[in-house]
Every structure is written in C-alpha cells, then in structure tokens.
C-alpha cells in the first residue's frame, strides 16, 4: 500500500467538505460543492485551486542555460529574467516525458514546474545530464502553489493585470508570493507560489476575498474546454510532440533530445494527430474509447459550458481537419462527433 502525500492545505480541504481522492501519489480534493458549479465559478467569476502537488525544480549555475537548452524543446534564450515559457522535456523519439513551465529567475537560475506524477522523472533526467557548473535541486517540499483563475480573479485578489507568461514577486494580504501569470483554465489569472509554511495563510486570504475553492475535477473540465493537453492522457512519451500538436513549443532550430525525429516528422507530416472534437449526438466520450477508422479518445467529458460531450483524441492525419465527422465507440454504441477548432469553448459562445 502506497502512502498518499498531503499538501500543506489538506486539513483546510477536509474542513471545507472536499471529496479527497488519490491523484499522482497525492491525496487531493476532486471537488468541494460540485464540479459543474466550480467550473462555472472560474468561467464567470474566480476560483482557487491547490496545486501544491506539482513539482518544483531549481536549476542553477553558469551552465544552467546550456543544460536546459539541450534538454527542453523550446528556446531557452527567449527568456529574460521575469519571463516564463511552456516547454517540453522530450525523449530520443521526440516523445514527451513531461510538459513544463520554465521560469527564468535571474541570469543563472531557473525554476521548472512539472506535473506531480512526472516530477521525479524530470529530476532524474536532468540530474543524469547535469553539466559541470549546473546544479539541479528538487524544491517541491519548500513551496505551495495556488492557482487563482477567472475573469474576476485578479481584482478579487488585489493584483494588477499583467502580461501572460511573466512573473514578479509581490504579496497578497501580507504573504510574500511569486506571482506567475500562468494557468490551466483558459481564463485570466495567476499561479501564486509561496513558502509551504505560508500556504494556509495565503489560502485563507484568497478564500476570504470571495474566491471559490475548486478541485481537480473542475481543473480537468476547464482545461479540456480550451484544449490544453493533459500529460498521461493526451500527451506522453509514446506520441511525438508534432503529432500531439505541440510543434509551437518546439524550437526545431535548436538542439535538444529527439529534435532530429521531430524535424523528420514535421517534414513528412505526422501520421496521426491529436484533435479536439464535439459530440453531435448525445453521448459523453471517455479516455480509451475507440474512434472508427483507427484512433482513440485521450480525454473526454461533458462540457459544463457547452452542455455537449467534448474530447480530444488521436485520429489519422486525413481525418484531422475541422468539420470531419468521427464515429466513437461509446461502450458498444456508435456515436457521432465532429472535429473542431481549438479551443472548444470560447467566451463569445457563452450563453
């Protein structure tokens, strides 16, 4: 039996009546009041998520840049101190070991935020390739991370609006925080990193400002509506980054693990592509359902905003164009869907 880890906010989640579930080795809140309610709070107002389970790694030293540039898909040189970037750790086949946010802290210091389930593998991959003059440290236990997201999130938490994919130091009700202009919901918002010891105070302050506590259930439906891939569902080591639709996060002119394969895939075109789709018949797609003609659903749910089944999945490249009809095997019943453009949900569509 594996012992589940707990974030510094565990007792607060339980006190709020959260339904706690095992997730990536952690005991995490999947919902408080209800997934749909929490989802709508983020789309129309503001929500807060405890994402302290995510991994944080610090890479420091005169060769930190060289190490990261040789390991990560995106161009590290585009980052000035104060910038952040979506990037991928890739394997020799161009498959995705993890998708990450890379923050440049200062000239020779970087922070990686990794998925909880991959944090250890990212750490070992980087330490195995450590260069003389670079030091990689797991600092996950030192930090707590709260995502505060939604159209009213910044106003409610008392922060100025700012440019996406940047960070600054600041404070929220006296708690020192690293304010990251990043998120996983498609709404404006921030991810606030604070010292683990301050997590309770920060959470209480944010909740006291009228921001709705939200669980991992809503986090998943929110990200799927805006087609952000989830590692372990939609992207992974078995699919190359180009087929996964993440070519935009791959600087193919730089040298990193698997880049030759990715250049070749880009040149000849992928055989399969990850596409978003909407059901045109009443049914809810789920992970691992077969798509007729050779394909598989990688994520699916009922969209709380659109009130139809939505999902993502791999289909043959010939079927990847928006408008193409798909037939999904919903537990033995063929149900029609249509390939859509990204994102599946846009604010203008709100009713």
């Amino acid at each position: 039996v594996q012992t589940l880890r707990r974030t510094p906010l565990h007792d607060r989640h339980v006190a709020l009546g959260a339904r706690m579930v095992p997730f990536a080795g952690w005991e995490m809140p999947v919902q408080y009041e209800g997934v749909i309610q929490e989802h709508r709070a983020v789309r129309t107002d503001a929500g807060v998520f405890d994402v302290s389970h995510m991994g944080e790694l610090e890479i420091e030293g005169p060769t930190a840049r060289d190490l990261l540039q040789s390991m990560l898909s995106n161009d590290v040189d585009k980052l000035e101190p104060g910038d952040a970037q979506y990037t991928l750790l890739t394997n020799e086949q161009g498959g995705i070991i993890d998708d990450l946010i890379l923050y440049r802290l200062d000239s020779h210091r970087y922070l990686i935020v990794a998925n909880a389930s991959n944090s250890d593998i990212v750490l070992s991959w980087l330490t195995d390739h450590e260069l003389r003059g670079s030091d990689v440290r797991d600092v996950s236990d030192e930090y707590a991370l709260l995502a505060v997201q939604g159209p009213n999130a910044l106003d409610k938490v008392g922060l100025e609006h700012g440019k996406a994919f940047t960070w600054t130091m600041g404070e929220v009700d006296g708690v020192e925080v690293m304010i990251n202009r990043t998120g996983y919901t498609g709404e404006e918002g921030v991810e606030l990193a604070c010292m683990a010891d301050d997590a309770g105070r920060l959470w209480d302050a944010v909740v006291a400002r009228g921001i709705t506590p939200c669980g991992l259930g809503a986090r998943d439906t929110l990200r799927l509506e805006v087609c952000y891939p989830l590692h372990g569902n939609d992207i992974g080591p078995q699919w190359d980054a180009i087929s996964s639709g993440l070519g935009w996060a791959c600087a193919l002119e730089t040298e990193f693990t698997g880049v030759e394969t990715l250049r070749a895939v880009k040149e000849r075109g992928p055989e399969q592509k990850l596409v978003p789709f909407k059901m045109t018949e009443r049914a809810i797609p789920r992970q691992h359902m077969a798509i007729e003609g050779g394909g598989e659903v990688t994520s699916g749910t009922q969209s709380p905003m659109l009130d139809v089944g939505i999902g993502m999945g791999y289909v043959p490249a010939a079927s990847a164009k928006a408008g193409t009809e798909l037939v999904i095997d919903v537990r033995g019943k063929p149900r029609r869907a249509e390939v859509s453009k990204k994102p599946l949900y846009k604010k203008e569509q709100a009713t």
Binding site: G34, V35, I36, Q37, G217, D220, A283, I284, T301, P304
Partner: protein, 131 residues
C-alpha cells in the same frame, strides 16, 4: 439544488444503490441518494428503449456525471413501459429529487416474487454502513 440525504421507508432497495416502488404488477425504478451523491451532478442518462426487457441484477442503462459513468442495475425483471423523459432532458433532476421527479423507468414486472429478495430500508442502510 442537491437533495439532502434520505432513504424513504416505502421503497425496496437493491445493494447496488437502486430502488423500486412497487404498485400492483408495475414498478418504478431509480437510484438512491447515496448513488447520486457518489456520482455528482448527472449530465447524461442513457435510457433503455420502451418495450425492451430488463433483468434483475443486470444493467438497463447508464447515468454519467462529468467525471464518471455508472451502470443502472435493475432490482427487478420486467418490460419497460415508460422512460422518464424529464431525466433524459435534465439529468440533474436525479440529484434534486432522486425518489420523486428523478425516477428513471417504469416497468411491468415479469417475476413479481423477486421483490422478496430486495432489501427494506433497514437492510439497505446496513449495506451503506458496511460501506
């Protein structure tokens, strides 16, 4: 609004968290408060066809929340006379009123003696307590 927890004593229960309200040779079937709470707000009801048959302890349909799918297990055998169209259109009705407006199907029983194998409310609560 989700209903608060209750288990009416005029119903018969199946350990898979389904209930039956028997009236003559007909029965109305649904899921218990516990089942809807475990699933969360329902967003889809895959109903059987009117005229099809359902068998005791077998699945006659599915209900889904955003996160999960659950088979509907029939507590009794019979023929489907009616499907609750309100729940097809608005599955959250089950969360709001699991024993009233949130009923799922009405059947004509083909083996009425099966009722003797079902649980009364005390028996069902024992199932819940044993978790």
């Amino acid at each position: 609004m989700a209903a608060s927890e209750s288990y009416p004593d005029d119903l018969l229960y199946h350990a898979e968290h389904d209930w039956a309200r028997i009236d003559g040779d007909e029965a109305v079937l649904g899921v218990t408060w516990f089942a809807q709470d475990a699933l969360g707000e329902l967003v889809h009801y895959e109903a059987p066809d009117v005229g099809s048959t359902v068998a005791k302890d077998s699945s006659y349909g599915e209900v889904e929340s955003v996160k999960a799918v659950s088979d509907l297990i029939s507590p009794l055998s019979g023929e489907v006379l009616e499907v609750n169209a309100k729940v097809v259109d608005a599955p959250e009705t089950v969360n709001e009123d699991p024993y009233g407006d949130g009923w799922l199907i009405r059947i004509r029983m083909t083996s009425p003696e099966e009722r003797d194998q079902l649980l009364d409310v005390a028996g069902y609560k024992k199932v819940l307590d044993e978790g």
